[in-house]
Symmetry: C2
Subunit: 364 residues, 2 copies
């Protein structure tokens, strides 16, 4: 009796989530310390101590009517101002409170912006391999997903194929750098070319094409690599940010959208996003989370921990003959399996090792 769309979704539900649940099941049998769970992007560096202190300070000093109450659907104005100021300082932008919409994580933010932009059968371009949820988010608003095949040598986007796949129906392009699952970071050169293609295609079709950049891994980059700030490269860019990985707060559901004033139809997009945040049932990002993170904008997670993990795994695996791109950022490793990927994951499970088949990232 559930909807047809939902039936298909339940049947093909997230392999990553299924592995996570399997890990919890095995942990009950063998003990948590004997299960090697590489499934979900659940940070294992604790949140900075400042988070705890900020929470205690806030509940002790802020009037509970304000602290726990409704605010504007976009979030507390002073929180949005602080975030804008922090971005302006780091990346030389010129944002104000009305460019920052507080969201229930990046997942909430992506749903909000897709709800605002997509008419049924509008096209959304993604680059394989990609986070499988994009497919579901696009389907929520009846958009059509257009997949650009992967360059398995570099895992940088195939820009020729990208250009050929843009049509008059292309409304949104999603990029994700540092990338889940490959760990690759899009270079300034890549972003410059990508922008040139978009500008050209906007003119050719007389349309607006919005570039949505999903950035939960922005702060997780290793060595001397820098992660370019995408809105500097293309006028119609919307940023989806999350504190899930940067402050190790994935369960708390806190992030924001950047909706720059130079966007085509900025007023409509901003107004629409405020309404979408409300009617999709988020209403607003959780109030306590908004207030405590505003006190933690200069905090960061312990990157050296992830870098050590990356080096251990990458060096160890390549030494024994596995192939994979060296992740420059994020905390994933996208390894070529010597046998069918699903079979490989099933075999690994017998050793209490939970890994996710690459095909879950619609690698084609």
């Amino acid at each position: 009796m559930i909807s047809e769309k939902m039936k298909a979704l339940v049947a093909g539900s997230s392999v990553t989530r299924a592995m996570f649940e399997e890990g919890n099941r095995l942990a009950k049998i063998y003990g948590r310390e004997n299960v090697y769970d590489f499934s979900l992007g659940n940070p294992n560096v604790p949140a900075p101590e400042k988070v705890k202190n900020a929470i205690i300070d806030i509940v002790n000093t802020v009037d509970p009517i304000k602290l726990h109450g409704y605010m504007s659907n976009a979030g507390y104005e002073e929180v949005r101002e602080k975030i804008a100021a922090s971005i302006n300082k780091r990346f030389g932008m010129n944002y104000g409170a009305n460019n920052i919409l507080m969201t229930v994580g990046a997942a909430g933010g992506l749903n909000v912006i897709l709800k605002v932009l997509l008419n049924p059968s509008d096209e959304v371009v993604v680059f394989a391999p990609f986070f499988g949820e994009y497919k579901n988010y696009v389907s929520n608003y009846d958009g059509n997903l257009v997949v650009v095949s992967p360059d398995t040598a570099t895992f940088q986007p195939k820009l020729d194929e990208f250009e050929a796949k843009i049509t008059a129906k292309t409304k949104v392009v999603i990029v994700n750098s540092p990338n889940n699952p490959s760990g690759v970071i899009y270079s300034e050169e890549t972003l410059t070319k990508l922008s040139e293609i978009l500008v050209k295609k906007e003119k050719e079709f007389g349309t607006s094409i919005y570039l949505v950049t999903d950035e939960p891994y922005r702060e997780l980059a290793y060595g001397n690599v820098t992660v370019p700030y995408v809105p500097k490269f293309y006028h119609n860019t919307v940023v989806g940010y999350s504190y899930s990985k940067s402050l190790s707060l994935p369960g708390e559901r806190i992030g924001y959208l950047v909706i720059p004033a130079e966007l085509d139809d900025y007023e409509d997009v901003w107004g629409g996003a405020c309404v979408a945040n409300r009617i999709l049932g988020f209403v607003n990002a959780p109030s306590l989370q908004q207030l405590f993170l505003a006190e933690c904008l200069d905090e960061s997670t312990d990157i050296s921990y992830y870098e050590r993990n990356r080096n251990t795994l990458y060096d160890g695996l390549t030494k024994i003959g596995y192939e994979c791109p060296s992740p420059e950022g994020a905390f994933y490793l996208f390894m070529k399996t010597p046998i069918d990927d699903k079979e490989f994951c099933e075999k690994a499970k017998k050793y209490n090792i939970l890994v996710v088949p690459g095909s879950a990232f619609i690698f084609r």
Copy 2:
């Protein structure tokens, strides 16, 4: 460049929210104490002291990896068990953890269950006057809203009209008691008759009709009135609950769905709801909120404060000639205006009084 659906939504955006924003604007000019804001359902009784203590205790004692981490999309199992036990004790039910899905408030919960149940053009029946957001939630999943006109004498549902409006396409019926905006509580007699009609119609059409009961005001009932527990009356009932009003936490976005095992296709509905919670972008209800409210299940807000407000307003307004049903619950008062309702609200604004026109509740 925003979607057609969104354009209409922005144009006809929430009058209640607009009044709330107007109140904030006036407060900046005249001072908060000189603005009488009766717009949004923002509780003005502070959250119980226990909330603060529970938060401090949790951040001091729970491992941050667990506290701020991902858990199952349904929420922490131990939290769901505690809530189930609390409901079982209060209402004599037999729920377990797999009947309780933690949600981003009732708004999140209603979106989840509608996403699970509705095929495009399925019908959702509501009773006027009703919370205007239902219209948007149903539209999110391309359902058709069917409105039963109000009985302006009693504001109890018109059951004859209800029965006549049920068709083979009816998938969901939404009730909301204590009611926003009328304050009326559905009696046991009303619920018994409503259930009889639904059972009869399910047989007649060979369909499952789900009764979704939206219960943010359950704990706000005055005098000796009791609020019947709807799942006791009808087998296919899903409860949407929120702690927004009962613990004065609307900004924190925390609530749950009850998905009873006796539901038609329970496994599919439960599985679908877990997936919908994820792909709609909620992922899970905020983790800290889940953990602290589990420590506050026996707490309640100060009802006497709202009861005093109700008596002051109801007695004062009826004495000078206004007509309205006496609210038995919730914290609204649905008053007949002597002139056009929108004109009335505009005039009230000149005295810094923010009230919402009844037509916003699709009173027809």
